[in-house]
């Protein structure tokens, strides 16, 4: 597909230029010109008042896609335990399979993991493709991608979903090249086009400033990695049974070119601010470095951690390791308390994606209130103790 301007119809109104999310359109001699930055998103097609912009199909040789059937979920397991995102993918996969009218399958790799198939059936898989071999005991890109590539080539699924974990995001791109198909990363929404039954994959880009819906029209399978925690988990029914299909797992010397020497688990005693679910952040409105002690009491109560703004770090009140913002860390906790933080744009850049932002500030005109879900105008030294007391009830 490509975006084209029908010059006779274009009146040079520049509405397309203003609407373009990629700055790809210029107006030259009162005619819109599509530049290199065009991603074919079609936003301009919709806004053009004179229908002067069209999205053209390319004359690609259309492959026979009808032989591809079934929705597959990559059943990622670590140390014999299925990752939680797999149950979410099975929940979503079930819906997609029902809309297309096809079956839901899981593909399971590992060593001595055949017993996990029952769990996958209980969560809705109708078939489990099983690769059980000592070479697959630990995840390796080469080992997993070899068996899955062969399985996709043989059984031809229509859709393959992977969790966007550190393993799924490693495996899926390699498979996209091996299988010769498209892959959409970190999807937050999947839906089936009611007309052509193809999948539409929606994902955030530009740090969440833009959402893009991606399609994969001419190659199969259609593949996505899906963000953990976004989709609803499948229902559990231990009476559900299914069919296990064993995959070829013959490996030759040199097939697996990386060796996992050790797996190290790090247990961090101090929650890093980028991983914390609850953050209580303080700014210059604290008035004194001792104010952080009060914030810590609230953070401890919630099982979270304390953070700060650049001004406090510059003043020597707090360490840079807990600074949120453009020159600090970007955080997305469940709750972000901004206490005595005015809300400089550089600070907001680092915390605006938090699920819930609660601002406590004396100044009712502080910009922080513009991004807050809940705002309290008041003295934080009175409000925070009252919140702690309320949580203790």
């Amino acid at each position: 597909m490509a975006i084209k301007v029908i010059e006779e119809k274009c009146v040079g109104c520049a509405k397309c230029q203003k609407s373009c999310p990629f700055d790809a359109i210029t107006i030259e001699d009162k005619i819109a010109v599509i530049g290199d930055a065009c991603t074919n998103c079609g936003t301009c097609v919709d806004v053009c008042p004179t229908d002067a912009i069209i999205q053209e199909g390319t004359e690609k040789v259309v492959k026979d896609l009808s032989m591809y059937k079934g929705v597959w979920v990559f059943a990622e397991q670590r140390e014999g335990k299925i990752m939680p995102v797999v149950f979410e993918l099975l929940g979503e996969g079930k819906k997609l399979a029902a809309e297309i009218g096809t079956e839901l399958c899981a593909i399971l790799c590992g060593s001595n993991i055949a017993g996990l198939a029952d769990e996958l059936f209980a969560y809705g898989a109708e078939k489990v493709y099983l690769a059980d071999a000592p070479e697959l005991e630990k995840y390796t890109t080469d080992g997993y991608s070899k068996v899955i590539n062969e399985a996709i080539g043989h059984y031809k699924p229509e859709i393959v979903l992977y969790g966007a974990t550190h393993i799924g995001r490693d495996l899926a791109p390699c498979l996209a090249v091996k299988v010769n198909t498209g892959l959409t990363a970190d999807c937050t929404k999947l839906e089936i086009d009611p007309d052509d039954k193809k999948i539409r994959q929606t994902r955030p880009a530009f740090g969440g400033n833009l959402m893009a819906t991606i399609v994969c029209p001419g190659s199969r399978p259609q593949m996505s990695t899906v963000r953990p925690g976004v989709m609803d988990k499948a229902a559990y029914d231990p009476t559900q049974k299914g069919e296990v299909i064993k995959l070829n797992t013959a490996f030759a010397e040199g097939d697996i070119r990386t060796k996992v020497l050790e797996i190290v688990k790090t247990t961090t005693e101090n929650i890093s601010i980028s991983d914390a679910d609850f953050i209580v952040a303080g700014g210059m409105g604290l008035g004194k470095p001792e104010g952080f002690e009060l914030l810590k009491q609230l953070a401890d109560k919630l099982g979270g951690t304390v953070a700060t703004s650049r001004a406090c770090v510059d003043a020597g009140w707090a360490d840079h390791a807990i600074q949120v913002g453009q020159t600090g860390t970007t955080v997305k906790p469940k709750i972000y308390f901004a206490c005595g933080i005015s809300g400089a744009i550089q600070h907001i850049a680092g915390m605006q994606d938090s699920d819930i932002i609660i601002a406590i500030n004396k100044n009712e005109n502080a910009p922080i209130f513009e991004v807050a879900d809940y705002g309290i105008v008041g003295d934080l030294y009175k409000v925070i103790p009252a919140i702690i007391e309320e949580l203790n009830k």
Binding site: D170, A205, G207, I387, E389
Partner: protein
């Protein structure tokens, strides 16, 4: 040793703002920067060069002509050579087509012992291109690398996991994708900046790397953007008021409990 670093010029997404009235992205005045993870990849290469004199560091990017500015920055940090793959035919590429183009460019540069790339770019956040280049070059790949040690034609690396890391041994040549925990990228030196302007930047188009226009850009991309939109703006927040502080605190806590947040 010859190390090739893949880099991308990206808009600083921290600076991207949404026009509250029109609901569109404001890209004016948004600076273009060297993608942060790619800066870590370059730093890793330069650190190896510091310890092993004679190491050559080559930087390659695919992008519009202005991406040359970013390559000058890489040269000023200490890279030895810079290549810009730039052609209208490369436009609109998804990760599949981008990796095909970069792999074709890398194949033309002989005797590469290691390819380093950032884990992902901040404009797309896909983390796909590095892995896909490795597949096309038939190199083993390790992603999310947060530590690198080179010995006897092998690399021992730490691969970051959600709950720790894996220690992985891989033979050279290989491709590694780097995360920010790997190192702290150096600044450009004054001398480096002066010299960077004297150094040539080699620009290659689709013919130079032996790809037909059908094999790159939008033409070769299996995925296409169906539509893009700005996420619905955050609704106006709610101010919580009351006659006493404990009434306000009580009201806040019950709202959070209602939503099952606490």
């Amino acid at each position: 040793m010859r190390i090739l670093v893949c880099a991308k010029q990206v808009p600083d997404t921290n600076e991207v703002r949404i026009d509250p009235v029109k609901g569109t992205m404001i890209r004016e005045g948004v600076p273009s920067i060297l993608n942060p993870d790619d800066a870590n990849a370059l730093e890793a290469a330069l650190a190896i060069k510091d310890e092993n004199p004679g190491t050559e560091v080559i930087v390659m990017t695919m992008g519009p002509p202005q991406a040359a500015e970013m390559l000058r920055e890489c040269l000023a940090m200490g890279a030895d050579e810079a290549y810009l793959l730039s052609d209208r035919a490369f436009g609109g590429a998804d990760t599949w087509a981008t990796s095909a183009t970069l792999a074709a460019g890398i194949k033309k540069i002989k005797k590469i012992d290691m390819v380093l790339a950032g884990r992902q770019a901040i404009d797309g956040d896909t983390a796909q291109v590095g892995s896909q280049i490795a597949q096309r070059l038939k190199m083993p790949v390790v992603t999310y690398v947060e530590d690198i040690k080179i010995a006897d034609k092998k690399a021992i690396v730490h691969r970051q996991m959600e709950d720790g890391y894996e220690v992985i041994e891989v033979e050279l040549p290989c491709l590694l994708t780097c995360v920010k925990e790997l190192n702290e990228p150096r600044y450009m030196s004054i001398r480096g900046i002066m010299e960077a302007y004297e150094q040539p930047i080699t620009t290659w188009n689709h013919e130079d790397i032996g790809l037909s226009p059908e094999a790159c850009g939008l033409n070769a991309s299996p995925t296409q953007v169906f539509r893009s939109f700005t996420p619905p703006a955050k609704g106006g927040g709610e101010m919580i008021t009351g006659t006493t502080v404990s009434e306000i605190a009580g009201s806040l806590v019950s709202k959070l409990k209602e939503k099952h947040i606490i």
